[in-house]
Symmetry: C2
Subunit: 425 residues, 2 copies
């Protein structure tokens, strides 16, 4: 916008920037940071920007000063996804609000936020270059002994703590209203909870050898379809807690001393098990990748054992911390009994198994794949990985009321491996 | 507000009315209707107003023209309840929106709305003087053979139809946001779902002979408290459909040819069984009143048989119409299976029994009593009615997963009568 101001006999042109939204390119992101005097000092004036986003939803720029080497991330939400689908930008505000909330609860586990711009719908935040994306770290078979404890701490402090048992139902209702994330939930409901179960839908097909299984067994399995529909009902209708909403290994940055969790733009009120199930499912992708690529190697065995221990650790640790947190923080007299919190724990654990299964299925037969499996070169190995995971996913969904102890997960995994190997011989 | 306008050399005083909210008295309601030229013609100028509200929440005026005899209702929500508790006025907007929505779906079953004023938070609507309040009609042991069919029609068309299976989850999420009714839900959560289960809470005590049962059995019953807490969880966390929210016999006006449903100011998204359970519980109050007052009379027997048939009719008819409505209108491919709609029906029927039990309990030991029971003069008869109802309420809550067929209700009723009679002999 250009404002013309007449001052005595002179005309002044004043450029008022960033008063309406536009999608920035690399140069415009540099201009933006300079105009707003954000992050970089006046001395840091050799800025270069590079678009590094790999998701479909947003544009992510790393801006680095070539002199000092200091860098920052600018994440912008446009009115269109990168695949040109029109989309509301409210998720960006929700992402910022949630990052701020998470920073209060777990300051060491989220990136530092330097600036939020509601008009430009962009967030300027810490560059996590000291960390590695956890999906890629897991593909390199790195293990992180602290992971299960840390992720449970994050889940308790930023997710469980938002239940109405702790904040009161009046405040919770207002929060549900505030965090209504229509477009993001629509994506989850279509891509995760619906499309993989629609006959012949699978958009990015799996290995040919698995197609008969997919079409004639999996998508014809009435028990599986019914149980998946029940879990979809819960996601659509149960405002249990404020979720991260997309808590997979690609949303986690990690190194040997800590981790940072990003991308809460899918945040909404839904069942807690959705988030925990996502974490567990994505650990299994790395496990099965290693299993089909190199089952005999010592490194793979060690890595897979660590994954299994981590999944078990998440369930055990969540159980312990949830019960304790509930006991210490519940405000409602009727909810103080041990029976009540055990009942609620079991609901959450059932959901965890069910949503882990849904996440596994949608990453194998849905449109949004995971690199862990997609990058397996050998067709037979990839087909085996797919089959194991579909069998595991089904098992977790259909038997979720029985899957409440840590060891049930490793048993389900072993069973799926054995069954798939036998079928594919 | 007075505006002073200078025109040439004259000063004009212009009175701008109703630009900010105030609570109207009887005369001010007449002035309001005249100033706004609402409902009455210029010839109808002998208006008298009378406050006829009997609830705690709002002021309700009947304004009649003494010449023509025509009358209208003005219902105003103040910033305070009649017991001087500060309260938000959003429920008034929600009431208007819901009445408008219900009028689209069931035009013959809601009062006609003539005007809504968002500033004055008042609704001008049809006077239902051709109808009788159903609570009082039931206390006179009048029966209405069409009632079960009509109320199920209302529930299907205005409540079930708002589920995301029919309107789509995106639209539903926006509606949940719009109809977030924080203050009204807070009242339900405290008065219906909490206070009756708090030890020694009961504010308007029951007959003395029942106090030991209440304190030493009922409020010490861990199974009852746990199951009530689970139903409270569902009310707080499940956005199944847009409820009326207060569907008791006092919210229904009825005559031998039809009925009109009023007062949806507690409307919110919650489990459908909450509304159906309320209808059933309030039928039981009339039944037990008749049973303790006059068990042997033919009229009472006929009336009680009609109530039992009506409760059974509601369950049977709801089951039939729900399954048919679902089959014909579901939009989501995953939800089209017979198994899915049977599963959902059973959830709703369980909730119905459970919330019927909660409504019974809160009307006996909570602060908001019902005239059906409160007006029983004989202390022994009243005590028996209370005991039967508390036993029935407990049974419906604790055994709700088993109470899905119509005849389960009459069996539970008979059992509670027999048990209470034996205990109180």
């Amino acid at each position: 916008m250009i404002l013309i101001i007449e001052l005595f006999d002179r005309k002044l042109e004043v450029k008022i920037m960033y008063t309406s939204h536009f999608k920035m390119n690399e140069q415009e992101v540099i201009d933006y940071l300079k105009a707003k005097q954000l992050f970089f000092t006046a001395q840091e004036n050799k800025l270069i920007a590079k678009e590094i986003g790999d998701g479909n939803m947003n544009y992510v720029y790393r801006v680095t000063d070539q002199g000092s080497g200091r860098s920052v991330i600018v994440k912008q939400a446009d009115k269109y996804t990168r695949s040109s689908r029109k989309i509301g930008q409210k998720r960006n505000k929700i992402e910022f609000e949630l990052l701020r909330f998470e920073a209060e609860k777990c300051p060491d586990m989220v990136p530092q936020i330097f600036h939020y711009d509601e008009i430009m719908t962009c967030i300027v935040m810490e560059d996590l270059k000291a960390y590695q994306n956890m999906r890629f770290a897991l593909m390199e078979e790195k293990s992180f002994p602290f992971f299960s404890q840390k992720i449970v701490e994050f889940i308790i402090k930023t997710i469980v703590s938002t239940m109405d048992s702790f904040v009161g139902p009046m405040f919770k209702r207002k929060q549900v209203q505030k965090y209504t994330n229509v477009d993001a939930c629509d994506i989850t409901e279509r891509l995760v909870l619906t499309n993989p179960y629609r006959e012949k839908y699978a958009q990015a097909p799996i290995e040919e050898v698995n197609l008969p299984y997919l079409y004639n067994h999996f998508q014809m399995d009435q028990q599986l379809l019914l149980e998946a529909a029940k879990l979809k009902y819960k996601f659509k209708n149960e405002t249990q807690a404020l979720l991260h909403g997309d808590l997979h290994s690609g949303s986690i940055f990690i190194n040997q001393t800590g981790m940072k969790i990003i991308d809460p733009e899918f945040a909404c009120y839904a069942p807690i098990g959705y988030d925990i199930g996502n974490v567990i499912a994505n650990l299994f992708f790395a496990h099965i990748r290693s299993y089909v690529l190199n089952p005999g190697s010592e490194q793979s065995k060690y890595f897979r054992q660590w994954i299994e221990n981590t999944v078990m650790g998440i369930i055990t640790d969540f159980t312990k911390k949830f019960l304790l947190y509930f006991q210490e923080n519940v405000t409602d007299a009727m909810e103080k009994s041990q029976d009540y919190r055990q009942w609620l724990l079991h609901l959450i654990l059932e959901d965890t198994a069910g949503y882990a299964g849904l996440e596994i299925n949608r990453r194998i037969i849905g449109i949004a794949k995971v690199k862990d499996i997609e990058s397996i070169q050998d067709k037979n190995q990839k087909a085996l990985a797919e089959r194991i995971l579909l069998m595991l996913g089904r098992n977790l969904i259909v038997n979720r009321t029985q899957i409440k102890a840590a060891e049930n997960y490793t048993a389900a995994l072993a069973e799926a491996c054995a069954l798939a190997e036998r079928e594919m011989k």
